[in-house]
Symmetry: C2
DNA sequence: ACTGTTACCGATACCGGTATCGATACCATC
DNA sequence: GATGGTATCGATACCGGTATCGGTAACAGT
């Protein structure tokens, strides 16, 4: 009652294992009649090939390992969908792992993934600890680091500069005439990219002799509810802000909802600014300012790169793919 | 420059391959000194085991294949996160695939997944075509079908009755005094569970001698933007509705935003009802009615089940796990 | 009739691990 | 000193495929 093996299919078809293998793979050295016999036998036994054996034997898995930090907002699922779409039809398969923004867990997951001998690996960010980076390096497969560009990649790099994204947003908001800034973030110790955006933002503020008038941070991960709560708190103590920069759109959306409930006109009194350009942010009854991160595009690019990197000579491929997020929803730019 | 094999580690440590294998796995038949030598050698060569070989040899992969239809809203990512969390520390690894609500693609993906000889497989829904169901059956591994309960499971079943969820929502809305219902959905031909909710909802309406006064459907997949657009259209031709049932919370949220922009008071004039109980829906400045689907819980249950099913005798395990979504946001029930 | 091609197929050796069984050394026991 | 038990290790045979090379048959050319 076990699953049939190639050997059994071959026996059923009255040929050798090797011939059966060739027939099923559509190799050329098989006569039409033999091929038909084998295909037929495989059909009868409802044979499903064993990729463990295939991969062990052929020394290539066509697996692409993907490690992302989170699945709790829509950003990384969209990246995964992009990767998955780019891989479709190539015979390659993505395998996902979630690190929960935990470097130790990330290390363990990457190690685990590598033991499956993937043909390429896609990891989020550039800030892996040295030990992890070394492990990636010695894996002898294409390593594609995504989302972030601020740092030194192991190999390939697809993403955007979050420092620059923060700077650009700050410049846009200053150009829109805002002066009294608040910042609301969450889990910045773990979401390093959000931290980089904040640093970039602050840098530009300082250049104009400004800074954050008020800050609120929480160790929990970002969510609409958290953004709403922190915003209410902040506005209670600092009602004279004219702009709040959030760690991302989820938090910003919460901020907008808080303003709506408090009856504070946005963007007139307070301009809400986030990051990501989520569909949600686009559909909101009141637009918020945001930087559209090309998440899907990053995923697709990374997936395409994985395809190419396993077939093409690595040296001939572009190493860095840089995207610049478009800023939308800043009133006077519209 | 290839990756070192167990053989090489053994040579480095001056023992046989078999002894090295035992030492690395922490088996008992190895002296402390030998074990140390092997561990040391493995460390020096930065050896990473080859799970292909391990799994092929030991005949168990500890892989859990997971097939979901979509990654474009937060629902399935949350399910995946639940599965992933439940598997953590068990030595089992989840492998995800996305079917895009396409039965043919689903069949291909499942076939592909099965070729990796997973220890268990989790698929979404109960409505796989016969061919697919047969393939699952003959895989001789635990099959866990999630999300839906309305149908005949192959093996294990974790989810909720969407028909009943639709009925319950209809009853709640009727009890709240609503009478003129609209329905707005999307891609019902593909998202069968949304269709089942609609059917259940309509069944209850009919029992009260009612029905949908107006319907809007689109072949595109659900999104906030689509919900917003369809709602605007519907309210233009049928402004006298007092309740709109949506295929899910994304669509409903779009509906709410449309009402806000049109200045229609909700829930006073129009009660917006969705499905899922997304965090978003909870945080909205105006609450919408929704059924909280236990997505994370379904994922965790399925993951836990996968763990147990591979170690425990299948016959001794509960086959069906039924969840009943809680309805929130219906005014007079609060 | 003999040789050379071509088309097709099978035997064998892997891929990198683990299961299993047997071998060896050492010690205690009678 | 012979016997038996225990601890430790290695040889061998797989797991289920594929790569590689060699063999056979059929046919064409001379």
């Amino acid at each position: 009652m076990r699953k049939p093996t190639l050997e059994e299919v071959a026996a059923e078809a009255g040929v050798s294992k090797m011939t059966a293998s060739r027939a099923l793979r559509g190799a050329s050295d098989v006569s039409k009649e033999t091929r038909a016999k084998v295909l037929n036998a495989a059909e009868r036994l409802s044979y499903v090939g064993n990729r463990l054996a295939l991969s062990l034997s052929s020394q290539r898995t066509n697996l692409v390992a993907v490690v992302v930090p989170s699945m709790s907002n829509i950003v990384f699922p969209e990246v995964l969908a992009g990767i998955s779409a780019a891989l479709e039809g190539s015979g390659m398969q993505a395998v996902f792992g979630i690190s929960d923004y935990d470097p130790a867990k990330e290390h363990a997951i990457i190690r685990d993934m590598l033991s499956w001998q993937p043909s390429a690996i896609i990891v989020t960010g550039l800030d892996q600890p040295g030990e992890t980076a070394r492990m990636l390096q010695s894996a002898a497969i294409p390593v594609i680091q995504i989302m972030d560009l601020d740092g030194t990649p192991v190999d390939f790099n697809v993403g955007l500069s979050h420092g620059r994204a923060g700077e650009d947003m700050a410049r846009a908001l200053l150009a829109a005439g805002r002066k009294r800034f608040g910042y609301i973030g969450s889990a910045l110790d773990r979401d390093l990219r959000a931290g980089k955006r904040k640093v970039g933002f602050e840098r530009v503020l300082r250049e104009s002799g400004l800074g954050f008038v008020e800050q609120q941070q929480d160790s929990a991960f970002s969510s609409i509810a958290l953004g709403k709560r922190l915003t209410s708190t902040m506005l209670a103590t600092a009602p004279d802000l004219d702009c709040i920069y959030y760690s991302n759109d989820d938090m910003a959306t919460g901020g907008l909802f808080a303003c709506m409930e408090l009856g504070i006109p946005t963007p007139e009194n307070i301009l809400i600014a986030g990051f990501n350009g989520l569909d949600l942010a686009q559909a909101l009854p009141v637009r918020i300012a945001t930087s559209r991160s090309p998440r899907r595009m990053i995923g697709e690019t990374a997936g395409k790169l994985a395809r190419e990197a396993v077939t093409t000579e690595a040296a001939s491929l572009q190493k860095v793919f840089s995207f610049i997020p478009e800023i939308t929803g800043v009133p006077h730019l519209q």
